[in-house]
């Protein structure tokens, strides 16, 4: 019996070793041979990062280090507002001309804004890249700030705000930020309060853009069938006129254990978010916490009946006791801080039970998590990285974000190796560091009556047992 157990224990690493090595040696060589990302910095501080691929399409993006966390309380929402007038008219091209050109290229111009990043990108065919880049940079850095457009877009943004309010999940995430980062600029929402919207004029927008849309804080990324030299030449012709400004320095941000609830019984369910402070995107612990997040995983009731034998304890428990409709672990990270936690949707009466299951899982991660679970989560995370980097757009987003905050982006090979290095001890140690006896930030929207007092959930963040 004893010998059999010892043999089995010896066999497991051997089995995994054999299994991962046969396929992954070739794969690692493949990753090693991928063309790397090339970087150039212009005189005015603008960074250009490209990754050439053998493909017929390309994705060009402008990443600007601007977003709601850099806005004052009177400006809050201005970055998002600028998004709406960006593609309307420029100083070089009047509205009908610009619209005609945008349509003519047949490219997809899009933009989005987060709390600390504003991204304008275009997906087009290779041969259209110069035109598309010209239009993109013209729109972002040479806007006309037409008065009528600003007034028109106010109505659009207001309608968007009200529509955003109808999405309880998005509202819950906004509340989570406002509670967890209370008193810091990160608490502000991307859209900002509706009163600010009324006060936006071309002058306020201009002033803000001159502060944040600075070449030092901008990265131009191109992925696809474009050469690095070509992009540098394009950037030189369109972006070298920009004057570098005084760089804003950024402080560390404070996390507060806190609780915010918006009870709305007209909603059919409750959305609950429970998060702890987590490492930032560029922190060394980032990869391990990502693996930990994938151990918790996610699930919803529409998934066909594997819940009884599901790998995740949370799923098995919540299926047995019917405690939630869906849940997923999330890890939102910013350049200097992050939020790691679980979002679940459930009926009012079951919220407390579900919270207990989730917190038991947190404690399980700290002390009991097993090798098999870590291996599974690592594989899941690796496949997620690969599938995300498959498209030109996905790679473009990845490069832009890392280059903006880290200066460079770790290659796929480096990322795979970093994930491979994670062991069960790492997961336990870091989960204990970030989860064990740490304050939660809780945000809940909907039928939240069944959620108990904050101190109850704070007390469940540790186990006094051996």
């Amino acid at each position: 019996m004893n010998t059999a157990a010892r043999l089995r224990r010896a066999w497991i690493p051997l089995k995994y070793g054999v299994r991962s090595n046969t396929s992954s040696i070739q794969f690692m060589q493949y990753l090693q041979n991928l063309p790397g990302t090339q970087y150039t910095k212009l005189v005015n501080g603008l960074t250009i990062a490209t990754e050439e691929r053998e493909s017929y399409n390309s994705c060009v993006a402008l990443f600007v280090d601007a977003g709601s966390r850099y806005e004052s309380s009177f400006e809050n929402g201005i970055t998002h507002f600028f998004e709406h007038i960006a593609f309307k008219s420029t100083r070089a091209r009047v509205k009908p001309e610009l619209e005609a050109q945008l349509e003519q290229v047949g490219a997809r111009f899009k933009c989005f804004t987060t709390r600390e990043m504003s991204v304008y990108y275009v997906e087009c065919l290779c041969q259209d890249t110069p035109v598309a880049t010209d239009l993109l940079t013209d729109c972002v850095f040479n806007n006309a700030f037409s008065h009528t457009e600003i007034e028109n877009q106010k109505r659009t943004v207001y309608a968007e705000m009200l529509a955003h309010d109808n999405n309880p999940e998005a509202v819950a995430y906004d509340y989570l930020h406002s509670a967890a980062f209370q008193g810091t600029p990160l608490a502000a929402t991307v859209m900002g309060p509706s009163a600010n919207l009324y006060n936006f004029t071309d002058a306020t927008i201009c002033r803000y853009l001159s502060k944040c849309f600075d070449p030092c804080r901008t990265v131009l990324v191109a992925v696809g069938g474009v050469k690095h030299e070509q992009m540098v030449a394009l950037a030189n012709s369109y972006l070298c006129k920009l004057e570098p400004l005084k760089c804003m320095d950024i402080d560390a941000y404070r996390f507060s254990g806190s609780d915010v609830r918006f009870r709305d019984d007209s909603l059919p369910v409750a959305h609950v978010l429970a998060a702890v402070e987590a490492p930032s995107l560029i922190h060394d612990d980032y990869v391990v916490m990502e693996v930990a997040r994938h151990i918790v995983g996610g699930w919803d009731r529409s998934q066909p009946g594997t819940a009884k034998t599901h790998y995740s304890q949370v799923v098995r428990m919540s299926d047995t006791f019917k405690t939630c409709d869906s849940y997923k672990a999330f890890y939102i990270n910013y350049k200097d801080c992050g939020l790691w936690g679980v979002h679940f949707v459930g009926q009012s009466k079951q919220l407390d039970n579900m919270m207990g299951i989730v917190q038991d899982e947190f404690m399980y991660l700290c002390f009991c998590v097993t090798d098999t679970e870590v291996e599974r989560a690592k594989n899941f995370y690796k496949s997620k990285i690969l599938s995300k980097n498959e498209s030109a757009l996905g790679t473009c987003m990845d490069i832009g974000r890392w280059t903006l905050y880290n200066g460079y982006r770790p290659s796929l090979l480096q990322k795979m190796k970093a994930v491979d290095k994670v062991t069960v001890e790492d997961v336990r140690e870091l989960c204990e560091k970030y989860l064990y006896d740490r304050c939660l930030a809780i945000a809940a929207v909907g039928q939240v009556e069944g959620l108990y007092d904050y101190s109850r959930y704070r007390a469940r963040m540790y186990w006094l047992r051996t």
């Binding site: 509670a179 209370q182 008193g183 929402t189 859209m191 509706s194 560390a252 507060s256």
Partner: protein, 271 residues
């Protein structure tokens, strides 16, 4: 109604106007009295539809359909900011630019130290409260005082058995003579109904301490009587010897020896 209105003390409330009749007394000197300061309270900020509407970005843009104006104002969730808890924060976390995770160990150890010390103090306080109440169920001091009896042995002459009252029962203290001692010591144990050697029953062979209740039916035996020179129960004729052991008669057991100790040479404490 009229009768009510006529009632003197109610009348003022029913009148729309009131008249004041001058009493004719005028102040002789007209003194300057400062005009009372008129306190104007600012109007409370009401959250009416009109006042809230001013905060919205749609001011002049809104077209209202239907005959009535807007009946409510809808705010976006972003319009409500999180309350400021700075007054409740610890000094380490007052600064929004300080990373709270850096001071967490110091804050937690302080909290846990206070909580731990408080817990110990609380447990001690709880213990003394509980002891106080539980001990109230114990026997009172006067009862406890009666539970013991202190006897001066010098007052008991040799060969005599003296009776005391102890816990409501008669207590026999017998100052045995050497003769009695040697007799009781030499009684063969096997011959006894309740076999006990004399040494098992006495601490000091000179002194026999027994409860004077016959083990048969509870009568009080008579001292220095009976066939064996010890005690004799007149009720049914039980004979006890000078060690209080049953020797003859219906009683099944020897006389009971209570807990006792010799505090010093001349004092015996029973109980």
């Amino acid at each position: 109604m009229t009768s009510v209105a006529r009632a003197g003390h109610l009348a003022p409330y029913f009148k729309a106007s009131s008249s004041v009749v001058s009493n004719g007394l005028k102040p002789t000197v007209v003194a300057y009295t400062a005009p009372e300061k008129v306190l104007v309270h600012p109007l409370p900020k009401t959250t009416t539809v009109q006042s809230l509407h001013g905060a919205l970005p749609i001011q002049g843009l809104k077209a209202v359909a239907g005959g009535r104006g807007p009946s409510h104002v809808r705010f976006a969730h972003t319009d409500i900011s999180y309350p400021d808890f700075t007054a409740y924060r610890r000094k380490e976390t007052q600064d929004p630019t300080a990373k709270s995770s850096e001071s967490v160990d110091a804050r937690q150890s302080f909290t846990y130290l206070i909580a731990g010390a408080g817990g110990v103090a609380g447990a001690y306080a709880a213990k003394s409260v509980v002891t106080h109440f539980v001990s109230s169920m114990a026997a009172a001091a006067d009862v406890l005082a009666l539970a013991k009896i202190e006897i001066k042995l010098s007052e008991i002459p040799e060969g005599k058995s003296v009776t005391f009252k102890w816990r409501g029962k008669p207590l026999f203290i017998r100052h045995r003579t050497d003769n009695e001692i040697s007799t009781e010591q030499s009684v063969p144990v096997e011959s006894l109904r309740d076999p006990q050697h004399d040494n098992q029953r006495v601490q000091n062979p000179k002194w026999l301490v027994v409860i004077g209740v016959c083990t048969h039916l509870g009568c009080v035996p008579v001292a220095n009587a009976g066939d064996f020179g010890g005690y004799y129960c007149p009720c049914h004729g039980s004979h006890y010897d000078a060690s209080g052991r049953i020797r003859k008669g219906p009683a099944p057991l020897n006389l009971e020896v209570p807990q006792h100790s010799f505090v010093d040479e001349g004092t015996l404490v029973v109980g």
